[in-house]
Symmetry: C2
Subunit: 218 residues, 2 copies
Amino acid sequence: MASGAKPVLYTYFRSSCSWRVRIALALKGIEYEQVAVHLVKDGGQQHAEEFKVVNPMRQVPALHIDGITISQSLAIIQYLDETRPGPQLLPQDSKKRAEVRMISDLIASGIQPLQNLAVLHRVGEEQQEAWAHDFIVQGFAALERVLQDTAGRCCVGDEVTMADMCLVPQVFNATRRFKVDMTPFPTIARINKALLELKAFKVSEPSCQPDTPAEQRA
Amino acid sequence: MASGAKPVLYTYFRSSCSWRVRIALALKGIEYEQVAVHLVKDGGQQHAEEFKVVNPMRQVPALHIDGITISQSLAIIQYLDETRPGPQLLPQDSKKRAEVRMISDLIASGIQPLQNLAVLHRVGEEQQEAWAHDFIVQGFAALERVLQDTAGRCCVGDEVTMADMCLVPQVFNATRRFKVDMTPFPTIARINKALLELKAFKVSEPSCQPDTPAEQRA
C-alpha cells in the first residue's frame, strides 16, 4: 500500500457478503483491520451518517484500500485479484472467468439480495422465512444444474475462485437461518463441505470474527 | 468465432438486463442473432423446459458464443470485453475498474433484482408498484452520491463503461414503469440523457427490438 497503512474492512460477522471478502483477504494473505458495523444494534449502524460516507448503500462490506473505498463484494474481490499477489481468485482462461462470474452473479444478484435484512424487513416478520426459503431454493436448483457442467472439487474446476467465496456464505445462510434442505442439491453440498475444510474459509466464518458476540462463538 | 456462426442472444425487449448486453454488443460492433423469450406470454417462455437448458435461472439474457452459453449480464459483458476488439467496456486502470464494477453491482445486485418480474409477482399486485418504487429510490439515492465522486460525462469519467450499460435500462424502468421522480437525482438524470444520445444505446432500446410488439414501437 502506498500509505503503508493496512486496508480497513467495514464488516459484520453475520453478513454473507462480508464473509466473501474475508475469504478473499485470507486467501491472498492480506493483513487488514476490521471496523464492525452492527446491522441490527442501534436500529442498524449502517444507517449512521458517518457510515453513509463510507457506503451510501448502507451495506457492508466496504474496503478502504490504496486511498479509495470500494463497496460491493465482487468489485472488492476483483480489485484485490487485479492488484495483489497470491493465488488467482479468477482463472486466466476467459471462458472459465465467464463461468466464475456467472456463478458469482447467480448468487450475488439472483439469491442474496432477496434474502438480505432490508428486504426481509419489508416483507414482514410473518412471511419472511418462507420468502427467503423459496428464493434460495429456486436459486439453488439453478445453481445445482449449472455446477454439473462447471464443477470439479470447486465451483469451476479444482481451484478456489470468487464463485466459491459466494457459495459458502450462501449455503450457511440457507441452512442455518432459513432451514433449507440440501438433499436436492448434492453438488452444492459437496463443494461447500470441501471448501469449509480450507483455512481461508474457516478463519473468515461468522463464528470467529472480532465482532462475533460471545454467545455465537464456535 | 471458431465456428463461424454468429453469437445468439436470448433476450426480451423489455428486459433491462438484456438491454445491458445489447448495448455492449452494439458498442463492440458484434453481429448477433436474437432469440426472443417472452417473459409474460404463455405463462413466461423462460419457464419452458428447452429454455431451462439455456439458463437454469430461467432469466434473460443468455448469450451463446464461442461454443459456450453465458448467463448473467455482467458476466457476458466482461467476457465480450476480454475476448472482442473495439472500445473497452471497462477501463484499464484498476481503481477505475473497481468503480465501474461497484456501480454496476449497486444496480445489478442492489436495485434490479428487487424489481424484476418474479419478485414483483410474489409481492402481489396491490403492493408491487410501491415496493419497486421504494427500492429504486433508495438505490438511486446511494447511486447519486457515488456518482458525485466518480462521474464525468459518464458514470466513471468520460468514457462509456459497463456501469453506463446498467444505468440507462434502470432509469428506463424507474421512470416508465414505476413513476420515479428523477428530480432528486440530477447526476443520474444528466448522464442518462447524454447516453441516450449515443447510437449503441438507441439501437438497443426496448422500443425497437425484433420482438417489440407493434403497439410498443417508437
